[in-house]
Subunit: 496 residues, 2 copies
Amino acid sequence: MQRVPATFLPPIALDSRSKTPMYRQLYDWFRQAIIDGQMRPGQRVPSTRSLALELSISRIPVLGAYEQLHAEGYFEAFVGAGTCVAGSIPDDTQSPPAMKARKGLQEIVEKLGPRLLSRRGAALTHLPAQSWLDNLGAFRMSLPAFDHFPSGVWSKLVARHCRRPARGIMAYSDAMGYLPFREAIAEYLGTVRGVRCEVSQILVTTGSQQALQISAQVLLDAQDRVCVEEPGYPGARQAFMMAGAHLIPVAVDQEGMKVAELMHRGRDARAVYITPSHQYPTGMTMSATRRMLLLNWAARTGAWIIEDDYDSEYRFGSRPIASLQGLDTDARVIYVGTFSKVMFPALRLGYVVVPKDLVRAFSAARDAADVFSSTLYQAALTDFIREGHFARHIRRMRMLYMERRKALVKAIRTQMGDLLEVIGAEAGMHLVALLPSGTDDVAVSRRAAQRGISAMPLSVCYLKPPARGGLILGYGGTNPHQIHDGIRKLRMSVQQ
Amino acid sequence: MQRVPATFLPPIALDSRSKTPMYRQLYDWFRQAIIDGQMRPGQRVPSTRSLALELSISRIPVLGAYEQLHAEGYFEAFVGAGTCVAGSIPDDTQSPPAMKARKGLQEIVEKLGPRLLSRRGAALTHLPAQSWLDNLGAFRMSLPAFDHFPSGVWSKLVARHCRRPARGIMAYSDAMGYLPFREAIAEYLGTVRGVRCEVSQILVTTGSQQALQISAQVLLDAQDRVCVEEPGYPGARQAFMMAGAHLIPVAVDQEGMKVAELMHRGRDARAVYITPSHQYPTGMTMSATRRMLLLNWAARTGAWIIEDDYDSEYRFGSRPIASLQGLDTDARVIYVGTFSKVMFPALRLGYVVVPKDLVRAFSAARDAADVFSSTLYQAALTDFIREGHFARHIRRMRMLYMERRKALVKAIRTQMGDLLEVIGAEAGMHLVALLPSGTDDVAVSRRAAQRGISAMPLSVCYLKPPARGGLILGYGGTNPHQIHDGIRKLRMSVQQ
């Protein structure tokens, strides 16, 4: 148990109308607090002067109470260190009633069993444990190469803004985000991703998950139908489930989501969620034809398209794909992006590009969700982008991840050639490797976790049982040595 | 328009199977990008070596294309500064099509008019503008005294953690929060607020608003009835509305929420939202009798109590009030708190203490909402608490706010004695002053805003029309000089 900081005290309640004298009330209070274990041996107590000031009473009763507590051995005085609760507490202390109360609370909860939650809340408690997320071992999804991050530059930029705690950095800020940051994002997206937007359309979020959650809240009512890729991103499904929406899986092939199936099954869908640049998790790139068909379908049916462009910064071939948003002439696309992959996850910064007529609703939904994003990192990242560090970092990581991907594919071919089949485009920070038909990928993943390997089973990305299981292997944060060693352990996990 | 950082380039798409030679494709691409305005005069272009590397092609076509672009005046070379887009672009450039497209987009949106949102989303677009929040003038609610914040100590602690960007500070973290921070919160709440909990029950959030939103999502289904204080905190109502809940206002008097009315009107309520330590906004403290009645009612009906203890650190009398949560023997209370008031709002850190059997659902809901809170500030604040700065800061601010409150009450009495009636306990960072009957507080607030004064109208805290309007005046971030000057301007705004 760690020590309570010197100056914390449980609330002291004094009754000025009581017949018990003030010094006695104070004495009783301290004695009880020590007996109950609320104040601990060695804990410093306030000076008589400051306690009197805080309680708005004369110093005399405080002096009286302290003298008494000292005389009875509850308090000890130290030269230069003030007064403390005695290191050796008198014999008559009991086991703290707080502990008893805690036990009672636990018994009540156990006795009552599960209690009435919302349908959402109840569903959440039944989600399976994702043991592969519990370790940060080799192949952990979505982790960048922390050791190649320019920490020196970054911490200088953070310190620069932290040292000047202007009102603007500490006070409430716009629900849409820090304006210079939004300007930098709009420019970056326009140049690099072919996104067509104005600064007023950029909503800064705490990451792509919040962007999805807010989109779901603004666009979907309970029981509304939303089409998702099968297999697809579990985080998006969570966000839609929280809005009470009904999920319709639409199959994915080499060209991305099968738009013909979407048109058939999604006739009355209110929205479609899609990862066209680098399908999550299979890594496919949506073809130009399907993109046009999808946009036409949305314009015709009035459905919204939620485009999640989570890692398109990293493409290792020669054909970068511009965003779907940039092709949309009907303002039907809500474009979602994140800095978790290109910077680091604990930054908690992402964004959503919102059609102009939806800005008001998105802004209000963000306000209702959690008001606004912390300003410090927004300001630091603005400088990081403006001063060119961001583009340089992406360029360096693109080279690094390309090499890591090659190393991973090679390790799989040489060590597990007949056990894993790599699919998907050469892009991003992860790849999917299919297991032999009939292999239980969740079981493989569990066994791998016991060896310290974080391999996400492909089947968790499916709403229906998949035809074939597989593993999703991240390589962003896994260096060549870990890749080599990890594939060896993975082979054992598959063959076991 | 700010300059595009040197190394950003729009995606370059080359077709290796095309009959057009590679150098020509590259030349065409750059020429078009310059004509379209995607690349700007003076913008630096990559070296031929790095571009060839990035596109995975030989350097020869790149050299050919660059030579041609240079010869035609699209590129300029500078000694020591590489190659740039020419400062004076040839005459044949058009107005950027991107601009045309933007205009088109706007026309479409204007033509289409409002489009199909969720009921929630549509309701959000109809919320009235809160003009009093747009300025940070005197009496702005919820702002602490920034100039008295120990910025030096704080920025050192932030820098300490930022300089060591351990995996733990950069990677994904627990949805429940950073463990050492949760330990510090549990200890603080146990000691100072009489909250009874274990560390496992603490969920770190991005502030009290997110704590409310998650509570609403976990506990309430659409159309579920939830009782709220009348007047009450608008942020809580927003959070419940987003969950589709039906709000039932229950009146507040000198002893806080009228529990008898709650029992009558809230028979089938699933939850009650309450601010017992310092009622928002009226400042009343809930009496001990009502607390016991409320807890008994919840235990009997199975309703949840959401206790929002947003600013209880600041009480200026001699009787601090322990939390309702600490009295609850039935694990019915969800306890919400924030660091926005005691630290600063842009910190974006708050917490919710969750009954043990609800931890799983709350954790999953947080994961679905936005995964986890940024780690840097959590780590820095842990040190700030552990090293005693937090308790010291609270103690100093308590004195400061007590003085500011006195100054504000005095200024109101002397300058506006017959126009404003101050109500509520001596606590917190704001007070409510009632206006003469029949005065339109929203109109007063608007006029005050024109004078640079941020006075929130009391009526926005009501669901039904209030008997009497008033102003909510924050004094945390308003110094004595601003108080004096502000009240003068406020008097003019009332009398106008």
